[in-house]
Subunit: 351 residues, 2 copies
């Protein structure tokens, strides 16, 4: 089986961790036997912007459509180009144009990594984030200027978008511990959030076997700290999912380990996999970036491509490596990016 | 000095912890000698709604205007009345009509209380939350129905509102460690948040002695877990401040201990002090509610009324009580609400 990957390393540490994860994927292919990855590399990044005045060529997206998945590092280097341009022109553009309407982000405690909450917490949360609308709408603008300036920002929630992400969460919950928590704020945000609650209730009615609860985003954020082990699938709007997934990364032990998948549901376009961390230009080039986020992201991609067995083995290898103490500084070790990758490959070969 | 308090215990555990905090305030007055509190009690609550069809009388607000401060417990009991009605008709109504445009919420580790992050973390953050506009605007609505339904929610940010809260944060920072962190999300929310950033930059220009940084709300939420001791004053929009303050309460050890003040700046109306926790109807009547949130709220009110020395003594007494192990179950003790209050009063008398 040949898997076509479109690879965009992007900026900063994306350029360090993506090659490491590809090394791991080559070993996965080798172990599997019948699997082969063929990668097409796209140099789209903030540096590309400096040279070409755009984050990707005009026909850039058309180069990605034939791939089975997009494997992304990180985008953004504000010393070269403003974030809203780099992100809007590459990351958010692909998410939107390729209708990657769902963003899935696990917050699961890995063996061998100490949570700031202490060990063992045994939480295993899957955040299902709406990825196409809500608070991230580009609708809005300004009126007056100076001391009178007023800015309106519209959040747009559609029945289609909200029910789609909530349905996805319930389908997922059925394969897990059968519990869905909805992130709301209907006590303070009085149009969009009561609507979200209504749709949640409606969809829940079709999944009588799944337990549910609704929590306001403020309280839910606190629960990620005080009782994360009580959560299973958490479904959230674009903004709330964004916030919860960074909190999830923090309780896992480092933003450097958290993976994510941007899922296209209608089969028209490839899905895209990227770590939750950013490009961290400040640590770029030092060989200290944690490759686990990108490698765990590769595991999510394997799952998505139907290679669950290889995904399982890869996560095991990551956990065994962490347990052996070969870790980067952000999670309390003193190994380099490539040493961590080497160890994961070593564990993988011994499976 | 006579201090007129308007007291609204509200719902659930508000009815338990408010009388406890008033007991403490009486002792404060006694110790001070020259201080006297005269309280007017208002029974406005969800029960009041059941009897009268409204959360407070039509002329309710006029009964509060003559007070020096409003001392509130908690509002909301969804078994009696929907949250958006109880909150909108009492809590949010007072915040808005009385132009309590700033909400201040400390996240400070108290001696004797174990943070879920481990001890000692030594963080001491003051969250300054915009309290009147932003994401909590009531503007918005729905179009179409069924599968085509679309809901628009408007967030409204004004130059006046944003610069006011940011100025407040800088003034406060000058009295503390001279650092302000701004919560933004301008990489994803492209109208309101870049405006917020602009105003922040403009105001910062007037406070050359104060250090600043801007963090996206997702990353900042994680920093509350991974490096809270690096934060001093954090200024945030209505929604972001709401979320951060619950995270702040969680890292302090319990939502049951966090206080807050809703500050009126123009002197036209009283300010209102309330704990961050809600009415928790599920634990009401068991005598296990943590009174520390309400008592620490009384300390904030004392500071606001210019009684800094008494405020300092009261916080010391709270910390000493916690260190002596007399705590409610939410923070690992087995004492009752009144036992904790008694101990705080005992420590207070020994000062
Ligand atoms: C009850 C709710 C409307 C309120 C808010 O979001 O402001 C509460 O969460 C708070 O933080 O005081
Ligand atoms: C970079 C930013 C626009 C993005 C988002 O908020 O979606 C990031 O925080 C993420 O979570 O992938």
């Amino acid at each position: 089986k040949q898997i076509k990957l479109a690879v965009i390393a992007g900026d900063g540490i994306g350029k360090e961790v993506v090659p490491e994860a590809l090394r791991v994927l080559d070993v996965v292919a080798e172990i599997h036997g019948g699997l082969k990855f063929s990668s097409t590399y796209h140099p789209w990044s903030s540096e590309y912007y400096v040279q070409h005045g755009e984050m990707m060529p005009k026909d850039g997206l058309s180069h990605l459509t034939q791939s089975d998945a997009i494997f992304l590092g990180a985008v953004g280097d504000s010393s070269l180009v403003a974030d809203h341009i780099s992100l809007g022109g590459l990351l958010l553009k692909i998410r939107r144009e390729f209708e990657q309407v769902i963003n899935i982000r696990p917050a699961k405690q890995l063996k061998g990594i100490v949570s700031p909450l202490g060990n063992p917490q045994n939480f295993d949360i899957m955040i299902v984030r709406e990825n196409s609308e809500g608070e991230y709408s580009s609708i809005g603008g300004r009126v007056h200027s100076g001391e009178d300036e007023i800015v309106i920002q519209n959040a747009v929630f559609t029945k289609k978008g909200v029910s789609r992400v909530i349905n996805y969460a319930f389908e997922l919950a059925q394969k897990r511990s059968s519990h869905v928590t909805s992130a709301t704020k209907s006590n303070g945000i009085v149009h969009s959030m009561p609507f979200w609650d209504e749709v949640f209730k409606e969809v829940a009615g079709n999944y009588g076997d799944v337990q549910t609860n609704s929590e306001h985003i403020d309280a839910l954020s606190a629960f990620f700290i005080t009782k994360p082990q009580t959560l299973d699938v958490v479904v959230a709007s674009n903004l709330f999912g964004d916030i919860l997934s960074d909190i999830g990364a923090a309780i896992m032990g480092s933003i450097g380990i958290a993976p994510s998948g941007n899922i296209n549901l209608n089969g028209k376009y490839p899905s895209m996999f990227e770590p939750v961390h950013g490009s961290a230009p400040d640590i770029f080039g030092k060989g200290i970036a944690n490759p686990v986020g990108q490698i765990w992201t590769a595991k999510m991609m394997l799952d998505h491509l139907g290679e669950h067995e290889m995904g399982r083995i890869l996560l095991d290898a990551i956990e065994e490596s962490m347990q052996s103490g070969i870790k980067t500084a952000d999670i309390g070790g003193n190994s380099s990016t490539s040493e961590v990758t080497d160890e994961i490959i070593h564990k993988l070969r011994n499976k």
